[in-house]
Amino acid sequence: MSSKVLSAGDVPGLFSDGMTIGIGGWGSRRKPMALVRALVRSGVRGLTVVSFGGPDLGVLCAAGQVKRVVFGFATLDSIAVEPHFAAARQAGSVDVVELDESLLVSGLRAAGRRLPFEVTRSGLGSDALAGNPQIRTVTSPYDDGEELVAMPAIHLDLALVHLNRADELGNAACLGPDQYFDDLFARAATRTVVSAEAVVSTAELTRDAHPSTLLLNRTMVDHVVELPHGAHFTSCLPDYERDEAFQREYARSASSAPAWQQFRARYLDVDEAAYLVNAGAGNE
């Protein structure tokens, strides 16, 4: 079997203008931030970003690369409101498809299962539905006759996820407390890129961990990239906690255009090795 390993330098070649990109993780937890930084450096524009949003969403909005956001929320967890996403919304510079968390799950799951929609009760009566004519209801064909939500499939061109360990074939382990919905992102996408804290042998994946930690198997993954501290500054348990001091610095960069330019120059317009040095990642 052939290796799916890409070098970090190959990653920008995966991106193109107008793509729909799904980003794994949750809020400011286990976000594929090194892949997001590569996306910023690539300069592609007009993106649709699908995310349980955190700084992934904020960075891409601040960089002006996002046309449309499909989201259930946007937060930095320890800072309630994602400041760059909020700034983009308040400036009216991004379109949004506002979903309930569970509707977003249903849309991704339907895409992965190659179904047109998933039936759910979630969203009924809320403005996530009332404000979105693209989401329709369906009447149960059984005696109950309930009118339920037919959440349409959310197809992704590309999924970006970050996990603790992967092998070069595309099997990947989540060693942290929650898988979030990274497997659904992987299955909803035409192509999936997994970055990992370490790329190890297949045997190594389960040397000290139960096989149930293997969230992704190789049928779900197209490319593997080794990116240590690749979720920084979000958390990637048990490898590292969130870098709260850096996150505060990131949040402050939303205070003015010069503050953002300064942040961008120091942390985003540099390669990943320089980022890790400038951000002090791994020194915490």
């Binding site: 259930g72 909020a86 506002e98 569970s102 509707l103 009760r121 979630s122 407390p177 979030y180 919905f181």
Partner: protein, 251 residues
Amino acid sequence: MSEITRAEVAVAACSDLFRGQAEILASPAGIVPTIGVRLALLTHAPDLMISDGESTILGDVPAVDRPSTVSAGYLPYRELFELIAAGRRHVVMGGAQIDRMGNQNLSLIGDHAKPARQLLGTRAAATNTVNHTTSYWIARHSPRTFVESVDFVTGVGNDRARAAGPAASRFHRLHRVVTNLGVFDFSGPDGGMALLSAHPGVSFDEIQAATGFPLHTAETVPATRLPDERELQLIREVLDPRKRREDEVPA
């Protein structure tokens, strides 16, 4: 014992939200309702289940600001959503706005196309409200929060659930709203909000002035009950000895 504080009255009112409820997940958002749920667990509702709000079901009842040391189960978000769909939960949510019919808004202030202030987004409020019992905790009761009509409906109120049909109302149940001023339910006309009790020392007029819509009420408004001696001891010595409750409701 020293004088009973407003925060302690609110904790007991949050505990009372769970009277008569057996084996369900109690999911409080906020310090006061978290202490309230744990107080219920240690007194009248021993079968309640609690989690750390992340991925672990607790096997103990720690103080509000201390970690659990006994895990009783695994509840990552994917499992939480299954539990919600199965209805085995009572959530106590917050909100930037809530209206007379119990519609809640976590998402934004202003116009959805270009909000004056972007907040969290919908989160799972829409899912919660049509699947299981929902209560609200509003630490600062004000006309900015208690509005005639919310800017964006995240948590579904009684009017919206009715309008969305039987699938929306089948498991929809708004229980109560607890604030720093009083306790409310939805026994008013058309399922609208009604004042159930005013916290000791708070007048109806004070509550009405802090509310952006006319409040329904009985002719005489009872006072919210005081926590009893055992409850006070549990609050002060076991569940919140470092008075985190006063971060939300100052003494």
